[in-house]
Assembly symmetry: C2
């Protein structure tokens, strides 16, 4: 049953036709884009927007509004046409599609107020939708979340990770639609129009699945009603459609993916053909129901009033454990903080948060894409999610992290078990490329504390500043070296050792800080002085401090990191001082490591105190 009795069948059919016309017109004008992908889903979007969803076109971010995620992001022109039809902006804007000065990009991004998460990398929308729905639960909203998938993207494993997460969390406010148009980019999809292939899979994963004719507006509206009535589990509507529906020359034909109609005769004829499909309507146009209720607002607490860390200098605490304690402490003062795990909470120490705040802890089992995707959805709606895993396994979600960067989302990732210092478990468990991955997201803050005090301070700094951020934590226990009153601004660093006679600067972070301190002492016994910097903020890095140190130490900087040479701290430091003609020597892991004891590995792979001592002696002239 339709939410609104006014939404008549002829009106909805006409809206679908108009959405098709606008999708063709805008892509023809742009000279690129995916009109046929829009045309298959026109009835699905028309019915969702004008007979089901509750929202305010003038305030799309309303906290109580139903959400729509276009997982098949290449149907962006359809999405834009729907919002124009709803009155969010003037229809004429649609003709600026894909132009540099327009926010109507080739695929949707949150530069547009009605887009929660960027899409266009297939198979991510359902993951984000799970997070959006979890956020509605967090704020006590009855907002529903709708997501439109392509049939082709159902091949992505991430879709099945999200499928199980939604069932595990019993999310019945989630209604997905698969646009089964049977054509992928290069060929027919794997299962073509066999809706049973889809239904069997979704039902096996615990979803309520409904098969409908995706061009039948009444059937779609009825299916949404069924979904709303389904309790305890999500619903998947499998909509049989035709790619290019409505224009005979392209309808159901392969070879039309990502191809606009030619401006002029070809486009005009197609639009004329569609205009002939408009039917007579009676009565007023469908009214969009407003967002329901007033969800609990969640205000930011005064982070400045946080008590100092309770650690004392000399305590021995792994940064991973300090991280778990820190997010738990923050969770107590900030209801926006949530944590997500992928079944390693007893290693990352997110289990501390789970014990204290079970209602804001979301287990994803071993499914890192779904975990990061849900964090993206949660962040897009006001939560401050802290997803975590072993740092190497966050690479499983690398493409999600890329898209979180494009979306400028407030996700705070943490990766534990960094580097060879994990020891005997061997290379498959060692993150040695995570800094490169995270630094390659230009708007991602990258933090790498060496002790419990800096960890706790930096967790608070991450939470208090907007944007994507990553913290790298370590497995071994390390001594607390900072006084609890010390401050750690993002973009800063700490000079740990210095003298007027320093012959080189060693830039370290995390576990290598302690190697650098040991090297300092060993060299001091030989009368050689070095400067030691803790570069806890890897991105942005503290350029001013590095330049100053380099100038004071003969232009010799030695970086040392428990990470591969490419893309890590060495590269970050080198770029920061690029205009100074300093010598930047990078001590880093340069081959695939083996299993072994942590100290053995640090030495074998060139990042131990003795390796630093050798580098200083080799590079510093006149010592």
């Amino acid at each position: 049953m339709s939410r609104t009795s006014i939404a008549s069948t002829p009106a909805l059919r006409n809206i679908a036709t108009r959405l098709r016309i606008e999708s063709i017109r805008s892509t023809s004008e742009a000279g690129s884009g995916h009109p046929t992908t829009c045309m298959s889903a026109a009835e699905v979007v028309a019915t969702l927007f004008f007979a089901e969803m509750r929202f305010d076109p003038k305030n799309p971010r309303h906290p109580g509004a139903d959400r729509f995620v276009l997982s098949k992001g290449h149907a962006a022109p359809l999405l834009y046409a729907a919002w124009a039809e709803a009155g969010a902006f003037d229809r004429s804007e649609l003709l600026r599609l894909r132009k540099l000065e327009s926010d109507l990009e080739g695929h949707p991004t949150p530069r547009l107020p009605f887009v929660d998460v960027a899409t266009g990398s297939l198979g991510q929308g359902l993951c984000a939708a799970v997070g959006i729905a979890l956020n509605a639960r967090r704020i006590g909203s009855d907002s529903r979340t709708y997501v439109l998938l392509g049939d082709g993207e159902s091949a992505e494993g991430a879709v099945w990770e999200a499928a199980q997460a939604a069932v595990y969390h019993r999310i019945d406010s989630l209604c997905a639609v698969t646009d089964v148009n049977a054509l992928g980019q290069s060929r027919a999809t794997q299962w073509k129009h066999d809706l049973d292939e889809f239904a069997r899979r979704w039902r096996a994963f615990g979803w309520h699945a409904i098969a409908v004719d995706g061009h039948d507006v009444d059937a779609l509206v009825a299916a949404y009603g069924q979904a709303r009535a389904t309790k305890g589990r999500p619903t998947m509507i499998l909509a049989r459609t035709l790619k290019g529906k409505g224009v005979a020359a392209i309808e159901g034909k392969n070879g039309w993916h990502g191809k606009p109609l030619k401006k002029g005769v070809e486009t005009d004829a197609a639009i004329a053909e569609l205009e002939r499909q408009l039917v007579a309507e009676s009565g007023p146009r469908p009214a969009i129901p407003p967002p329901s209720g007033s969800p609990r607002p969640s205000h930011a607490p005064d982070y400045g009033a946080l008590p100092a860390p309770a650690y004392s200098i000399g305590d021995s605490v792994a940064t991973r454990e300090a991280w778990g304690a820190a997010i738990t402490k923050l969770g107590a003062i900030d209801p926006r903080i949530v944590a997500l795990d992928a079944d390693v909470g007893n290693s990352t120490f997110s289990e501390k948060f789970e014990k204290a705040h079970p209602d804001r802890f979301f287990q994803h089992f071993i499914a890192e894409q779904a975990m990061i995707g849900a964090a993206m959805g949660l962040a897009s709606r006001g939560a401050i999610p802290f997803p975590s895993s072993f740092a190497c396994f966050l690479g499983r979600a690398a493409d999600f992290i890329r898209m979180a960067g494009i979306s400028d989302l407030n996700v705070k990732m943490t990766g534990s078990h960094a580097g060879v210092s994990i020891g005997e478990d061997g290379p498959s468990q060692m993150a040695l490329e995570d800094l490169a991955m995270m630094r390659a997201v230009p708007n991602c803050t990258v933090l790498y504390p060496c002790d419990a005090v800096s960890t706790e301070r930096l967790v608070a700094a991450m939470a208090a500043s907007h944007g994507l951020a990553y913290m790298r934590t370590s497995r071994p226990k390390t001594p607390v070296i900072y006084d609890a009153s010390e401050r750690f601004p993002i973009g800063g660093s700490k000079v740990l050792r210095q003298s007027a006679r320093d012959v080189a600067t060693v830039v370290a972070a995390g576990v290598t800080v302690f190697e650098a301190l040991k090297a300092h002492d060993a060299l001091a016994r030989e009368g050689i002085a070095i400067r030691v910097i803790d570069a806890y903020s890897v991105q942005p890095i503290d350029r001013a401090a590095l330049v100053a140190a380099g100038e004071a130490t003969g232009g010799i900087l030695i970086t040392v990191e428990d990470h591969y040479a490419a893309g890590g701290i060495g590269d970050a430091v080198a770029e920061a001082v690029a205009d100074r003609r300093f010598l930047v020597e990078r001590l880093a892991v340069r081959e695939i490591p083996r299993s072994g004891a942590p100290d053995e590995l640090l030495d074998k792979y060139g990042i131990s105190a003795s390796q630093i001592v050798s580098a200083v002696k080799r590079l510093a002239p006149g010592r």
Copy 2:
């Protein structure tokens, strides 16, 4: 029915018990590891190795041998114990588990001759097994592929990608076993011991699924026989087991993941308890059937005899199209060459290969993890796989690529549609971090040709040299600038413009080569000379040429790349010349880009000819 009538039930039960004992003993000695994970799967491994698989313990790489992939890599001690039991090496070696000088690492790697692909990042083994089975088909072998998964890792989407790939390719030589021990790392698994939850999913995905008691050797042997008799589709055996089976103190108990028994009393008592479970045997020990048949050998052709590329200077050809033509040409002379696609073959041009060599083309639809995983398996058994997608979507398989590096596999990846030069499709389709990702794999060759001739030559160079490699191709057509006779060794570069008066060196690759050439001409008109280098080999990079150019041009190097600043060509160049105190200025994309026309975007994001001109004027003194 067992393959070998000699394998009696008591003998198999005793082998399982001995595997448990060795798993406990070796992890206790190492002081770390996952004994309970080994113990649940002891009967599965005992029956596979001693009543089902055909192999030669002294020649585990035999081309006709059945294969075993331990997807749950943390059960490595069990795998090692099985090979020792089979006679591959002396049992005493097991006590060197996890020691730096031993190849018996914490998780299996192909440093061991009986390991095809490294495991330990969960959810990858089945993907690789699909590739191993496809390779058996390629070489005409009836070798069967067995893979052991954990129940926890079934949450990984990659498992379901592989599930559909195996069915799509109708791989009935594949038999998987899930060790359903109901306990994950931090808690009970999602579906605990409910085998029906698993069976429903596997059947929905088209597999033959069999549920058995995983500690009943007869039931396991019978299930393998059923799997062998199943035609046209793969089989999944769901084995109900107990973690820690056989030792009452830990059997079926949570909190024992990744925890060895304490050396001494605790270990001794457990081993004594297991020894009491040994039963009387009669007759000789089970004999392992030898590998069957002699698969077609596939020899390397003489790559030196390849004809020169057929392009002429001035032709306009996208490097992606030249890549498609090049792999097709190679495929004609080298039967080891195979291609894998994820439904973008008409954009990457792998469709050329598909048309010419359909039997060696493996479609994976939109499932990049399964695609790279299958390539890993194919490579591990002698194929030279060329998997390809849009470069940004290879990030979906970042963790597989990391593991391919750990495995030192001969996989030749290609990513098309690099950078902002793709234009209007927008940031979700632009690879701007792929070079960082690939450079962060220390043994990965990274190539980035600018024209069709260099593309074709470098494809041949990739295929001819062993190891992991990545080629980055571009969307726009670019002019051919190299004579067909030109050679492009890996690790080389080309000086495209030089004079005795050069005030700076511009290092470019791919589309920016043409921006650099334009800048050269524009500056020449003002009387300013610059050197231009095509750094087509990004890793290894041509250090000698960069140092020479820097020394000849006042130590000023300007890198320009259609990639983010972190981890790309600028960082590679800066590190190569780190000891020279040159000034390395990096022109790169430094923010999330937008949709727009390619030329507009190159300029807006700072990597166009005019931006190079500005940089030269800013940096080169006394010009």
